[in-house]
């Protein structure tokens, strides 16, 4: 479980250079990609990928999708339930195998409502990541 903190929302809004007043003051909203931050801090937020022992030096974030069902605001207490939806290998265009990992994380708020889904496609390349 994690409580969404106002200071963290402000810090995030500043880091993404977004001065939208909706992310400040009473009734502030969390910016749409703030869910990624929550995923880094919350237990279960990384879709169970920690057990896969992925190598950061060879890891690409291929795709990311968010689905928003309820607003997320400072003070909300979120619970994340992550799962690895799929793991598969593909031949890369430049040779070498690529490992695809598809994860889905469901975020539930303190009222028991599903607030959002986050779906990630991670790709681990065989050699060094190409620029």
């Amino acid at each position: 479980m994690m409580r969404v903190e106002y200071g963290k929302v402000r810090e995030f809004a500043r880091a993404i250079k977004d001065a939208n007043p909706a992310y400040a003051g009473d009734g502030a909203l969390a910016p749409p990609t703030f869910l990624m931050t929550i995923a880094h801090w919350i237990e279960g937020g990384m879709g169970g990928t920690r057990s896969l022992k992925l190598d950061y030096r060879r890891l690409l974030h291929g795709e990311q999708e968010f689905e928003y069902l309820k607003p997320i605001r400072p003070g909300d207490v979120l619970t994340a339930r992550g799962r690895t939806k799929d793991v598969f290998e593909k031949e890369g265009k430049r040779g070498g195998k690529m490992l695809f990992v598809i994860t889905e994380t469901e975020f539930t708020n303190q009222r028991g409502e599903v607030a959002a889904y986050s779906r990630s496609t991670l790709i681990q390349t065989e050699g060094a990541v190409q620029g």
């Binding site: 500043r14 993404i16 749409p32 795709e63």
Partner: protein
Amino acid sequence: MARFFQDVNEGDELPPVVVENLSRTDLVRYAGASGDFNPIHHDEEFAHMAGQPSVFGHGMLTAAFVGRCVTDFVGPENLRRFKVRFATRVWPGDTIVSMGKVTRMYDADGERRIDGEVQAVNQKGDVAVSGSFTAALPSRG
């Protein structure tokens, strides 16, 4: 600042959002704010060892710039879905322009919705992020 459904047309362009001269400090600030401390985004030595010419930007930071282009147009509270695909990397010194357009307008789940396509390009015109969104807009009358 959200628009009414009636004020939007298919093909409408989202006003571009420009982020000039992305700095290493911007990357470090995003690392701290997001909790994403993959060293490839802040540790030059680590980046070189991984075969990269320098550190490069978090894909999710560029995605956030694209997200701002979308939420400036639809209002953050109205966003229902946001998807991004990461293409070319973003490097310190790059200027990133996020843009998009409305592709579809329809009713679903009792809401008046719009779909759109978005992308972020660097100063050379290379696509860094492409994606799509769905939003529910308030209706007049």
